[in-house]
Amino acid sequence: MSDEKKHIEKLANQEYKYGFVTDIEVDAVPKGLNEDIIRLISEKKNEQEFMLEWRLKAFRQWQKMEEPHWPNVEYPPVDYQNIVYYSAPKQQKKLESLDEVDPELLRTYEKLGIPLDEQKMLTGVAVDAVFDSVSVATTFKDKLAELGIIFSSFSEALQNHPELVKKYLGTVVPYTDNFFASLNSAVFSDGSFVYIPKGVRCPMELSTYFRINAADTGQFERTLIVADEGSYVSYLEGCTAPMRDENQLHAAVVELIALDNAEIKYSTVQNWYPGDKEGKGGIFNFVTKRGACRGFNSKISWTQVETGSAITWKYPSVLLQGDNSVGEFYSVALTNNFQQADTGTKMIHLGKNTRSTIVSKGISAGKSQNSYRGLVKIAKKATNARNYSQCDSLLLGDKCGAHTFPYIEVNNTSSKVEHEATTSKIEEDQIFYCNQRGLSTEDAVNMIVNGYCKEVFRELPMEFAVEAQNLLAISLEGSVG
């Protein structure tokens, strides 16, 4: 075995840095799923009747559905009756300020380097922190409220702006959409809601950190972002989860709606527990993310850096309905050890002169499997639609796999679709070159991988880009050969 390989293995064998469990009182419903549980969740959240009805319809739909098995991932069957569908940190009363938040909870954020305090204010980031399904703190609300921006937990939005939620919920990802989306629709406990009024440019990055904590608690967030005409918002989603032996199911739904001339930029850094080096444990991440460019000249841009989870099944997509609308997808997906990722995007061109760009960078290390799956569909009426796709795979070592499944469906002859794909390995000569300039093999690998991901990282907001680079370095510890 060469020194490099040994080095890579050492790196790969590094323990997950964020594996700790917060000891906090948890208010949870009994395990399992039936209509009573759903009624209980809805009641606990003090929801209106329409919401309960919607949940029940979703549940009935879900019961008729089968778990999809087409993704290029393998995992033991999930027992959906052995999951706790709702848990929230117990709160004695409604919180007025951060001082009243459970200090244990705040310490957890500290460990993760997520200061929920003045620091965020100084950096201009408003945080809506979701801890095991229920929002516990929200900052910057006043400032945002001045502009008419609504940024709150989903539960709060249901209480305070039910008409808005009712108008848009499920209009991009209907409760019938797919197995996991239906499940989410039935049981989702919380998430974020954002509404940017007409002509308002959101002055700061909106940011939510999700964190799965209670053992055996499935996490089902729901996020809904609506950008009204001529508005702009940049939204950041980032997460880490503590170390657990049992697999944790995660099935989130994110819906984005951009009206005329509006723009939504959605960035994700995902670092959930990937399982240990034997492939034990880790999060199952089955997410449905979709945006609708509903308005003329609207734009939705997804940027994701995926390094965590044992299994990732995720296709942030854009429905390009409005004429001249733009969809973008920039992705870095890194898998190590026994991680499996099947991720990509769908760009559905419906309007005229619609444009989409896909840049996907897969990195496989260890014994992991990394698949890109994408669909570019040009509908009949999408005159002059254009798409450019670039799907690159980087292999570190010789025990991992990279797969690309691009689907292209064109029904309009005036459109133009381009697809480029490459697969490469880090050359020993590149590492030696870096070594010769004084860099250790570990630094060399990080540098080469970061260079490879450049096109995606530059789409991330500045502070997120730095975080992403660090995360990549942590996740790669113990790879390359």
């Binding site: 000569d429 010769q436 300039r437 004084g438 490879y452």
Partner: protein, 252 residues
Amino acid sequence: MLEIKNLHVSVEGNEILKGIDLTINPGEVHAIMGPNGSGKSTLALVLAGKEGYEVTEGSVLYKGKDLLEMAPEERACEGVFLAFQYPVEIPGISNTYFLKSGLNAKRKYQGLEQMDAIDFLQLVKQKAKLVEIDEKLLKRPVNEGFSGGEKKRNEIFQMAILDPDLGILDETDSGLDIDALRIVANGVNKLKGPEKSFLVITHYQRLLNYIVPDIVHVLSEGRIIRSGDKNLALELEEKGYDWLKKEAEQVA
């Protein structure tokens, strides 16, 4: 500075170097010449610590330390620099960022403070002038899309930034036109100093018109068959290598 004794090196079981003895003192410039396949690049790469080059016999002392025991990055941090014959590309990483990381790795090794972006930029401007390299190249990803000449010039630029004690130039002159050759040579000459040594590997005598060596060695079939002053290079240019080879065979 460098003391090579009876160095034998094999690559994939084939012995390439068959007993090299070579001593370079501080401030000296040595040139190694020789026909294709004589082992010139092998010598350069084994000194830099490339994997797959197995030392079967002999020793190399660098500043009194066992060079062969050191990892490649350690050698670099100790002041050994190799200007590659075929510099590789590193997509997405700017030349300046790459070099700053290298320089700071070296400074960390030496127990020095990290150089900040402003100081580094000044150093870059100064050294870019020295080796007459276009600053636009420095913002581009490492060697990506560089012409052959630009790559070689970039190697010399990197050498200027990292300021090594032992600079090894592996056929830096190949593929250079006469102007580029002059610029590269000037760069090296400006880096020379009483504590700096150079090992210049070349195929042709013409580089040695610009970088005047103290000693010229002729490498053939893994052995140094002749050493002399700069006139040896001129003699080789005129007569080729064959007469030396024949002579060597007769001695053997």
